[in-house]
């Protein structure tokens, strides 16, 4: 007997995102095209699965997640720093449509970071879960071991062209002067039982 199920994500842009006050809160800021104009990462993993793993990682450690969408930039450092600045705990995660991710803290310089995962093709779903877990641990003020980052010399030549195209698509969704908004998210799970 096999048990299969599929997970669908609905994302709805809401009102303007304000600064949070809950110390358990970790804010995930997604890039302009995430889950909208683009729906998969550079290695064709569904954005819904990526987001769900990060949120699960945060929940497992007792954190509370808020998702916001940034319109003004496609630059990961600034997306991540915006998330941190609006986060009640001061910890934020930034994620681009192609999958590149950063964990940020509000007191850091925008171009600095707590943890950076620069090579998007190498980030697995387990890593996304760990990124969520670590962000929640930072929010709790714990002693955190950074998530191991894999490095592949060949990733650059292999994915550079497609990364450039994805970034271009991302950049086309930028809306100058539009402030970040809260994003309502929900997942629906449908179960199919096959014998």
């Amino acid at each position: 007997m096999n048990y299969s199920y599929s997970i669908e994500m609905q994302m709805d842009d809401q009102s303007r995102a304000a600064k949070g006050s809950d110390p358990k809160e970790v804010v995930i800021a997604v890039s302009p095209a995430f889950g909208k104009a683009l729906s998969k990462t550079i290695v064709s993993v569904e954005h819904s699965e990526v987001l769900r793993e990060i949120i699960s990682g945060i929940e497992e450690q007792g954190g509370v997640t808020r998702v916001i969408r940034n319109f003004e930039t496609a630059d990961l450092a600034f997306i991540g720093h915006l998330a941190a600045k609006l986060s009640g705990s001061g910890i934020g995660i930034g994620i681009q449509s192609r999958g590149t991710t950063i964990i940020h803290q509000r007191d850091l310089d925008p171009l600095s970071n707590l943890e950076l995962f620069p090579q998007s093709p190498l980030i697995t779903l387990e890593t996304y879960r760990d990124i969520g877990r670590n962000a929640a641990l930072y929010a709790r003020g714990e002693n955190v071991d950074p998530v191991p980052v894999v490095n592949d010399q060949m990733a650059r030549p292999r994915y550079q062209a497609i990364a450039a195209i994805l970034h271009l698509k991302e950049a086309q969704e930028i809306v100058r002067g539009k402030p970040a908004v809260n994003v309502d998210y929900s997942f629906t799970i449908s179960e199919e039982e096959t014998v």
């Binding site: 007997m1 450690q61 007792g62 707590l114 003020g141 997942f187």
Partner: protein, 612 residues
């Protein structure tokens, strides 16, 4: 009257110090001093490189060169060398998988659940009502789906009492359950969990530890055991003490054994008698026997055991260094220290770690006269300056220590270095008594390295030397005494949330998960076990009466006297005997450093006017 530049050079186990003085008649002016790590083993020609660079650095501080020095005086290094060894003496083995007692960061729920283990896929096919189950969930199942199935079972009237999960999903599943049960997660070897057996699961509330499964009578209640069986499971309970969550599964033959490794025995040969002690008996027993045998002449380890190998390795090293045969090496002092060595349990399901007991041995070896004459003649050639070998090291140290304001003869000095703890006393008649004991700063470093399983001696050395802090934000940290420190500049991001070592310049984040309190306790215990024990031993042995109540002043010297807490610990202990102890302040400026080098240059003055 001619002016002369005299350099005193002290070669210690771990550092080489110089003091440079300008002498005019009986007037001496200290110009400069310096300290470098000793190159090679103390008392051998390999030291010359370090001596030379130390002299160069000292002279460059006053813009002069080595060639301007008239006389270099080096100490007659005491021919004792120490070495360290450490090994485990117990081991915990689970012969058949019967328990999981580990501390996942986030187990789900709380309380106790008792039932029969079953895989979730089996439960879907045939679940019986009114039969309690503990469900085993491997990593191929998603938490959302698992929780959905559990809620469905609950509506069907199937009793789920607890869950064992392979992934880190405990809280996620728990948050989605309508009927809350305890959940233990992060069980790596889940396929080894016996299925169809009676099991008990316990999760304690945050900040608490389990109470039922870590109590032998708790286990006997849960599993309905006879007194005989309760005796057998007692080690299981013991090994679960202090955990936040645990699973115990009853298998017919399952047992957990704490096995003592044959560490062998050591035989201490003294002038009064010789005593054989089993290393398994621990450090206290060894040190207690040591007291009975009088003056130690040698120590032999039982052949073919850990103890034998430890002592033989030591002899081998020292034989090579001192150019003697292995049979000529005599161990003249031994310090045994109990330690806890973290080791993973063999046969465990979730990578459980226990603290096995171990023993650390520091020993001191009396060598033949070291070749200090060879060193001095070679140094003379190398520097082009006349070199002379000064007096006895202890005498020089006392002469140096007496430059501390407020001291007078008779004086007792306690020299705590890296390799050995030495004591010397000089009574009114000028009779000098000295002892050299094994175990000092390096032993403390080794204990810290082992107990925190750092595998990095340099880092352990830093932990020993500097106080700790815990970063609360990028701008403030909590200190060991509970107070807070704010910083103008942000701390580096890689230190965020970490326990850090507060060095003079900057901070070093520690790559371990221990809390600041745990690290502090380990550091202080290591220092206490080595230095407080050795201070008492050294003072007892150096006094003609062997009673430390007969002294009133103790002056501490050496690198370890610079430590931020060791002098205070020793002072605390010695004050129980009514002794005033404090670290020296050589020449009123140098603190506990540079005593021997200072003594060496001062002794030239004393020779001239015969004032001793």
């Amino acid at each position: 009257m001619s002016r002369q530049l005299i350099a005193g050079v002290d070669i210690g186990n771990s550092s080489t110090e110089v003091a440079i003085v300008e002498v005019c008649g009986n007037e001496a002016v200290f110009l400069t001093q310096h300290l470098v790590p000793t190159t090679g083993i103390k008392g051998t020609v390999t030291n010359i490189k370090g001596i030379k660079s130390c002299l160069q650095l000292a002279m460059s501080k006053i813009n002069r060169t080595i060639s301007e020095i008239n006389i270099v005086r080096i100490n007659d290094a005491v021919p004792v060398i120490g070495d360290l060894a450490m090994d485990v003496i117990s081991e915990t083995i689970i012969t058949e998988s019967s328990m999981i007692g580990h501390n996942p960061d986030t187990p789900g729920g709380e309380g106790i659940g008792i039932g029969q283990t079953i895989l979730i896929e089996q439960l879907l096919q045939h679940a019986e009502e009114n039969k309690p189950y503990i469900v085993v969930v491997s990593k191929k199942f998603d938490y959302e789906w698992v929780a959905y199935q559990f809620n469905k079972f609950e509506r069907q009237g199937i009793q789920i009492k607890g869950v064992i999960v392979q992934k880190d999903d405990g809280v996620l599943i728990h948050n989605r359950l309508q009927m809350k049960v305890p959940i233990v997660d992060e069980v790596a070897m889940i396929d080894k969990v016996p299925i169809g057996k009676k099991a008990a699961i316990e999760v304690a509330p945050p900040g608490h530890v389990i109470r039922m499964l870590s109590n032998p009578f708790g286990l006997s209640t849960v599993f309905d055991l006879t007194p005989e069986e309760t005796k057998q499971v007692a080690p299981v309970a013991k090994s679960l003490v202090g955990n936040r969550s645990a699973v115990v599964i009853r298998t017919p033959a399952g047992q957990i054994a704490e096995r003592k490794i044959e560490s062998g025995s050591i035989t201490m040969v003294g002038n009064r008698m010789s005593v054989k002690v089993d290393v398994n008996d621990g450090a206290d027993e060894i040190m207690e026997s040591y007291k009975k045998i009088g003056v130690l002449n040698d120590v032999q380890g039982e052949q073919g055991t850990n103890a034998g190998a430890m002592l033989n390795g030591l002899r081998q090293d020292l034989a090579e260094v001192t150019d003697q045969t292995i049979h000529e090496i005599r161990i003249t002092d031994l310090l045994a220290v109990d330690t806890k060595i973290p080791s993973s349990i063999r046969g465990a399901l979730a990578g459980e770690i226990t603290m096995e007991s171990g023993v650390g041995l520091a020993s001191m070896v009396q060598t033949k006269k070291t070749s200090i004459q060879t060193v001095s003649s070679l140094l003379e050639k190398e520097l082009g300056v006349s070199v002379e070998v000064g007096g006895i090291e202890a005498e020089m140290a006392i002469a140096g220590a007496l430059t501390t304001p407020g001291t007078e003869r008779p004086i007792v000095i306690l020299d705590m270095g890296g390799g050995s703890t030495d004591a010397a006393t000089n009574d009114e008649n000028g009779t000098i008594r000295t002892v050299h004991l094994a175990g000092a700063g390096d032993m403390v470093t080794l204990l810290i390295n082992t107990e925190l399983s750092l595998h990095d001696l340099e880092l352990a050395e830093k932990i020993k030397k500097y106080p700790l802090g815990k970063l609360q934000s990028l701008y403030h940290m909590q200190l060991e005494d509970g107070t807070y420190l704010f910083s103008e500049e942000p701390f580096p991001p890689e230190a965020f949330g970490k326990v850090v070592i507060r060095e003079e310049k900057g901070i070093t984040p520690l790559p371990i998960r221990h809390s600041m309190e745990q690290i502090r306790t380990i550091r202080r215990e290591a220092k206490r076990k080595v230095f407080v024990t050795n201070a008492i031993r050294a003072l007892e042995q150096v006094l003609p009466t062997h009673n430390i109540r007969h002294i009133s002043f103790v002056v501490m010297l050496g690198g370890s006297a610079l430590d931020f807490e060791i002098p205070e610990m020793i002072n605390d202990e010695l004050s129980k005997y009514g002794i005033v102890a404090g670290f020296a302040n050589i020449r009123g400026t140098e603190g506990p450093r540079n005593a021997v080098a200072t003594g060496l240059v001062l002794s030239t003055l004393k020779r001239r006017d015969d004032r001793i």
